[in-house]
Assembly symmetry: C2
Amino acid sequence: MEEDDEFMARALSAARRASSHDDVPVGCVVVVDGCVVGEGENRREVDGDPTAHAEMVALRAAAGARRGWRLDDATVYVTLEPCVMCAGALLAARVRRLVIGAMDPKAGAAGSRYNVLSDPRLLHEVSLRYDVGAAPSVALLQDFFAARRGGGQASTSG
Amino acid sequence: MEEDDEFMARALSAARRASSHDDVPVGCVVVVDGCVVGEGENRREVDGDPTAHAEMVALRAAAGARRGWRLDDATVYVTLEPCVMCAGALLAARVRRLVIGAMDPKAGAAGSRYNVLSDPRLLHEVSLRYDVGAAPSVALLQDFFAARRGGGQASTSG
């Protein structure tokens, strides 16, 4: 869907902001009825907060804007497959649908290491679409880590 | 260990605060070198925030107090087994040890539905101790749900 490409492009813009403050470039937007209600980039390093992954920042912003924790009409766009924490947060917010850019084979919890979003034993399931804007997401991550290997300090993804 | 009982009692006090603002009573404390560096209770309803489970609130407070996201010298005490999100947050913060009160057979991710804290494929593992203060934790949860069935509105655990 064209709409998915458009919102993933916006998530990629958010990811670029993360690089600008020396955080691993991952970005996320939360969309309801075609409007962005929450947006965020990974802020772990700049905020010194282990929970400040892009998805968490965007979900908290969306819940604040909607004045409630239940986001069951939302579609979430994220440039990199969520980790266990962020996939769990999508469940906790009862998100309807998730669109993923690149996969994270080492730590992804939406199909790679686990798929907690499609487990009928849990209280909620999230509809998934993969591989939207994967190439620019991977390029952004590769550039970030290459630059750090070149001159900066080593870092690990959340 | 006596210290574990003492800190779990403090986590139970935090859980009681959650009931007072009509949130499912779960509490958490984060301890480093015998001192509480972060504390929190479930605030999902009162804050309208899907991520505001007790563990998340306590980890964010601890990271703020320590001025950094890495809590690898911390022991976390929680009155109810963490969900997927909160177990993932313990990994994200590189927490050393987790002490659990009651288990959550439906949604627990530290031994019940999943055990993401003891998975050598992930980037980090957390040492676990179960069944410290389980009975008062269960009693608190049962009283909360019984009172709501009696007169209030239904609620679900995070």
